[in-house]
């Protein structure tokens, strides 16, 4: 599945919800189901500091594709993290670098990307792309 296809899948998934509560309940479930990051990667150098919620991000390159694992101490942030991992993980560095990621807006969770520094999400997306770029540069 391409990045766009996964984004569309998520948009369709969220369209089933009538109200914000169902949407957040889903997000919380996604957060809970995110595979737990290996504790050896939950170190300070993997930490993306938000003003409130913290995010840990680890990536590695396997067969030319970037695999992300991540975690957060806040469950809603973790749900958002799970969505980002689902969309971006297992794609080539080029695909990741060029991803528009406008699904967040389309599922009505844009406020989580506001520059309030309150959660580490904006920084996390930036870091995901930076990692991809680093792999691309290393490969070339």
């Amino acid at each position: 599945m391409t990045i766009e296809e996964t984004e569309q899948e998520i948009i369709d998934e969220f369209e089933l919800f009538d109200d914000w509560m169902q949407k957040y309940e889903h997000l919380i479930e996604l957060g809970k189901s995110l595979p737990i990051i290996d504790t050896k990667y939950k170190t300070d150098d993997k930490l993306i500091k938000g003003c409130q919620a913290q995010v840990w991000l680890h990536s590695e390159l396997k067969d030319g594709k970037v695999i992300y694992t991540a975690d957060s101490d806040a469950i809603i942030t973790k749900g958002m993290v799970a969505l980002m991992v689902r969309v971006l993980s297992n794609h080539t560095p080029d695909e990741i670098i060029n991803a528009k990621l406008d699904f967040i807006d389309k599922i009505g969770l844009k406020q989580h990307l506001s520059p309030t520094r309150s959660n580490g999400l904006v920084s996390m997306i930036k870091q995901m792309k930076m990692d991809a770029l680093a792999y691309k540069v290393k490969r070339e």
Binding site: W20, M21, Y24, E25, I28, C51, Q52, A53, Q54, D73, A74, I75, I76, T77, S118, N119
Partner: protein
């Protein structure tokens, strides 16, 4: 918490008050706004909004400069605003009231100017664990520059200062004490008078950060005998960008200007500049004239309701909310001091404060979550942050009921 006698409900006309605040009738995320983030900033009554509007519409001119009527009139308006603040704080003289950008600006002013004159290597400055970053960082910077030492008054688990430890910190090297009147995270009302008298016994001046006190309590700077007292306009229902530094005349006369420029001088030549007397010595450049007028109007507004009535009513809100919160399973209140004002901080076991704030926001309930710019304090309690509910006199018992129901729902969702 000390139980105050039940208030005469007629002293607070809640419907009339709420009607004065346009924002309180708006909806957020489709729900009626419940604004419980007054510790961050308070909402503005129409009277304040109108005052600012009127100034820009019909009175705009620069102060202390022109001979023309507009300039003369607004200079009088500006100085009347100063006199209104003086009266409100019961300062001895209007020249002891300096207009600043806010509390942070006021503390920076004192830290910078006081240290230039009075702090040298090895001297000590005392703050407390519960200070807002704005009452830590300016002093930390002074300590770095001057090779002085920052000493910290500890707190007990209830969130009260340990006065015995404070008394032990005082010595001949102590040059100034900077302390919050009311904690922005815990709501603790500190025993400022005791702190000041112990300091004064050793001729040490005290700066009081009153940002969280002035909206809730009657403050009398002469009775407290504090040397400096500061607060922000926007937290007392006035505009942002304006604040107040009260300083005893004897101190303000002894410390040099903070920023210099237009308005701060008597005469200027390239050889020597003679600075103006206080307060103008500390008000460089064109000040926030509209802000001072709005602030004075906000102070009038508070006084019309009456601070005694406000304090009592808010205390009842606090007691009511505390009792309701305590009944919720897994909720732990941080800050259980005997004397509290305005603020209720809590954590819910196993749930990140950010998540609770996010869900409450969806319900139209505005609370603050995080460390509240008091990281050392939050670190003391070993939590990632708290959820903070902070009240103003326009909040209601019914809003607390809605909030409690919302919180219960959020906890179920997030568990």
């Amino acid at each position: 918490m000390t139980a105050l006698k039940a208030i005469d409900k007629t002293t607070i006309n809640i419907e009339k008050i709420r009607a004065d605040f346009p924002i309180l009738s708006r909806k957020v995320n489709g729900k009626p706004l419940i604004y419980f983030d007054n510790g961050a900033t308070a909402q503005k009554p129409q009277q304040v909004i109108d005052r600012i509007d009127h100034y820009y519409s019909y009175e705009n001119a620069n102060i202390h400069r022109g001979v023309h009527t507009l300039s003369r009139d607004i200079t009088i308006g500006y100085e009347n605003a100063r006199a209104a603040i003086q009266k409100h704080l019961n300062a001895a003289n209007p020249c002891e009231i300096i207009f600043t950008k806010g509390t942070t600006d006021a503390i920076n002013l004192v830290a910078s100017s006081f240290s230039k004159r009075f702090i040298s290597k090895g001297d000590e400055i005392i703050v407390s664990v519960m200070e807002h970053h704005s009452n830590i960082l300016p002093w930390q910077q002074v300590c770095e520059e001057k090779e002085a030492v920052l000493k910290v008054i500890p707190i007990n688990d209830a969130g009260e200062l340990v006065l015995d430890e404070y008394n032990k910190l005082l010595n001949e090297k102590t040059k100034i004490i900077a302390i919050a009147h009311v904690s922005n995270t815990l709501g603790t009302i500190n025993p400022i008078k005791e702190i000041i008298s112990a300091a004064h016994a050793r001729n040490i001046p005290v700066l009081v950060d009153g940002a969280q006190a002035v909206p809730h309590l009657k403050v009398d700077v002469q009775e407290l005998d504090c040397d400096f007292y500061c607060f922000s306009g926007h937290k007392v229902f006035g505009p942002t960008g304006i604040g107040v530094l009260y300083g005893k005349e004897k101190w303000l006369n002894q410390i040099p200007p903070y920023q210099v420029g237009g308005g701060t001088i008597k005469t200027v030549s390239f050889e020597k500049t003679e600075y103006a007397d206080i307060p103008l010595k500390f008000e460089a450049g064109t000040p926030d004239i509209a802000g001072t007028l709005g602030l004075a109007t906000a102070i009038d507004y508070i006084n019309e309701i009456g601070l005694d009535a406000i304090t009592t009513y808010e205390h009842e809100l606090l007691v009511y909310a505390t009792e309701k919160l305590q009944k919720l399973q897994g909720v732990k209140i941080l800050g259980t001091a005997k004397e509290k004002a305005g603020v209720l901080s809590f954590i819910v076991e196993g749930i990140h404060p950010f998540d609770i704030g996010t869900i409450l926001d969806q319900m139209g309930i505005a609370v603050r979550t995080g460390h509240h710019c008091t990281q050392p304090l939050v670190a003391y309690y070993r939590v990632p942050g708290t959820v903070r509910v902070s009240f103003a006199f326009y909040n209601t018992f019914e809003e607390i009921n809605v909030f409690i129901k919302g919180l219960e729902k959020a906890i179920i969702m997030l568990k």
